[in-house]
Assembly symmetry: C2
Homo-oligomer: 209 residues x 2
């Protein structure tokens, strides 16, 4: 029973829905389906920011995610990955941050493996090296496969203010890879910037596979 | 710039998306449309709980809310209303709490005016008075109009633990009213149980009218 005459004394137990988490391929709720994401042909990345921890690119784009319209806000890079899958780290994790009108946030995380060099990421690196501000048009359907697979859960921003209520799609079958030298470039220019994995607590995770 | 070697020192500024709020009919984003909610013909309310502050009814039901499937969890009553509209209070606010698989919460709030007695609420009162545990089947389409109008915004639970990331639909054209004697019954059995309105901060509110 709560005392409505002493509302300042109410416990405000926030902090049980934090990200990143370790994603378990065995303990999730399985769906034989795709992650429900479709987006414009491309996002236009217009501004490139060195925020000290990562490169952050602002721009324009639209996506439909689990049947609701969202607007692209920014993307940035984490090395190594923040989410782990069955305890394993990926060398790179890209976060595409989207919001809607009422302020709901969906982050589409792409878990990237080492392989061929990616030309879009090379453009981003070249612009950064040359300190030039030129738009980069990324074809999201070259980054995100049309049949996206992966995890869906409720968490938080992974950097302060760590706001909760953030919906995560973590894509495990990325359409891109990055080369060893592209990874090396990030390591030379930025320190490791992965927040530690956080407790799952009572949360349920969906796996679309 | 964040220190990834001292993550325990990160600010965790939660508490900027709290509910209830004062809903402004002039400062919201207007849509000439309905609130996107459709539900089963009825929710079956199977368990009636006196939690000290209100009557809480658990049960079964399904709803599609802004294109996603949710499961009904419980409903309860606040007197007077927790949300205010242009500063004005309603005598009663009913909260229908729904969740989905990943733990997202949507509360459908029905702002109820004084008028005719409602038979479903009378059943709930009678069961409570007689201390009997009988299911009450509420026809949600008799509580929620088929063309629901009202507000849509992002907030929190209004009782501890005050969890954020809760999506609110506040219905302003309720299909039901309650009588003076029904209201009086609640006042005789429960103290006022409305949390104070919380600051809006940067949030945007949608108004479907």
């Amino acid at each position: 029973m709560f005392n409505y005459d002493n509302q300042n004394g109410w416990p405000n137990k926030l902090g049980h829905y934090q990200s990143p988490i370790d994603l378990s391929s065995t303990d999730s709720i399985n769906y034989d389906d795709n992650l429900a994401i479709s987006s414009d042909m491309y996002y236009q990345l217009t501004e490139e920011i060195n925020d000290g921890n990562t490169i952050r690119l602002l721009g324009h784009g639209n996506a439909t995610i689990f049947n609701r319209k969202f607007t692209f806000q920014q993307l940035h890079f984490h090395l190594p990955s923040e989410h782990t899958i069955d305890g394993k780290t990926h060398p790179l994790e890209i976060h595409l941050v989207h919001t809607n009108e009422i302020g709901q946030t969906v982050v589409v995380a792409i878990m990237v493996n080492k392989g061929n060099s990616n030309p879009d990421i090379q453009s981003i690196i070249n612009h950064f090296n040359n300190n030039v501000e030129q738009p980069v048009n990324i074809s999201t359907n070259q980054w995100i496969p049309s049949l996206a697979k992966g995890f869906h859960y409720l968490g938080s921003l992974t950097t302060p203010p760590l706001t909760e209520g953030v919906e995560w799609l973590v894509i495990t079958n990325a359409a891109i890879t990055v080369s060893e030298s592209q990874l090396q470039w990030f390591h030379n220019n930025f320190k490791h910037n992965n927040r530690k994995t956080q407790p799952l607590f009572e949360r349920k995770v969906e796996l679309y596979k």
